[in-house]
């Protein structure tokens, strides 16, 4: 049991990071912190992908290095995902700056109250 878990420690860390991201997105009333939580969740998924590509004792996927190699495909997916994640964060933060200009606060409970009053 312990050995089985030890072999799969990285998966547990990935799930834990996703959990921390979920907690931040549910609990925080500050919008900036919600976006940070989204980023933590994302990197949990990234960790999961990179871990399934990993082979112990293998080289990075550079053909100048001696084989065996880790799988290059998840690396490519995650490179794309990181860049898309940055775009997502940038747009979210742009919206947050706009919301602040409109409501004067970043607290979701206050924003909800104000928009219900309108």
């Amino acid at each position: 049991m312990i050995e089985l878990l030890n072999e799969r420690l990285y998966y547990l860390v990935a799930f834990l990071l996703m959990g921390i991201g979920t907690y931040m997105m549910i609990d925080k009333s500050n919008l900036v912190k919600k976006v940070i939580g989204m980023n933590v969740f994302q990197s949990g998924i990234f960790l999961f992908f990179i871990v399934i590509a990993y082979v112990s004792g293998a080289s990075p996927p550079l053909v100048t290095a001696p084989g065996p190699y880790v799988s290059p495909l998840p690396h490519v997916l995650i490179l794309t995902a990181i860049v898309v994640g940055v775009s997502l964060t940038a747009v979210a933060l742009g919206l947050i700056v706009r919301i602040y200009g409109e409501y004067g606060t970043l607290d979701t409970t206050v924003i909800r109250e104000v928009s219900e009053d309108d």
Partner: protein, 178 residues
């Protein structure tokens, strides 16, 4: 030696993620997140993914931190007397349930580093590893796949970044053109 380093690094990553979640001050939270990104970029290097590690260090620890700092510079940084935030039991229960459901899959997954896992033995992986150099003359297979085999994917990615830029300009139109 390697094992101990790896575990220490994972503890650092999870610890800084927890600090990010629990700090009340937004600036403190952003700095902890930046440390977390740096830690995880070293994890990528341990997992033999140097390209991802470079991107994460430049983008995760660099660009994203700057974006967050710019945001709180343009908006507010709420101050409070408490350093650490109170834990919300409702959110914690949902989180624990979520992690528990995910964890039930752990034993169905191949052990980390197994050379018989589906991803590693797949034909696609082996095709790229065997033919990338002869077909594209690029030594780095990740680059070969990114720029040659899946060039259209990367074009799509560029479109996403472009639309994000246009989106931000549209959203912030007031501030930009006033």
């Amino acid at each position: 030696m390697n094992e101990a380093l790896e575990i220490a690094l994972l503890v650092f990553v999870v610890g800084s993620a927890l600090v990010t979640a629990l700090l009340r001050d937004v600036l403190g939270s952003i700095i902890a997140f930046s440390a977390y990104s740096l830690g995880i970029s070293i994890v990528w290097v341990f997992l033999r993914a140097p390209d991802v590690g470079l991107t994460e260090a430049a983008v995760g620890a660099g660009v994203i931190t700057v974006l967050f700092l710019l945001t709180i510079a343009k908006t507010v940084r709420p101050t409070g007397e408490r350093t650490v935030e109170r834990v919300n039991p409702g959110a914690l229960i949902i989180t624990i349930a979520f992690v528990a459901v995910l964890s039930t899959t752990v034993f169905a997954l191949p052990p980390v580093g197994s050379s018989e896992s589906a991803v590693v033995t797949d034909n696609v992986t082996n095709y790229y590893l065997e033919n990338a150099y002869t077909e594209t003359e690029v030594n780095n297979v990740v680059t070969a796949v990114l720029a040659a085999y899946r060039g259209f994917d990367t074009l799509g990615e560029a479109v996403v970044v472009y639309s994000a830029g246009v989106g931000i300009l549209l959203v912030l139109q007031k501030e930009v053109f006033e």
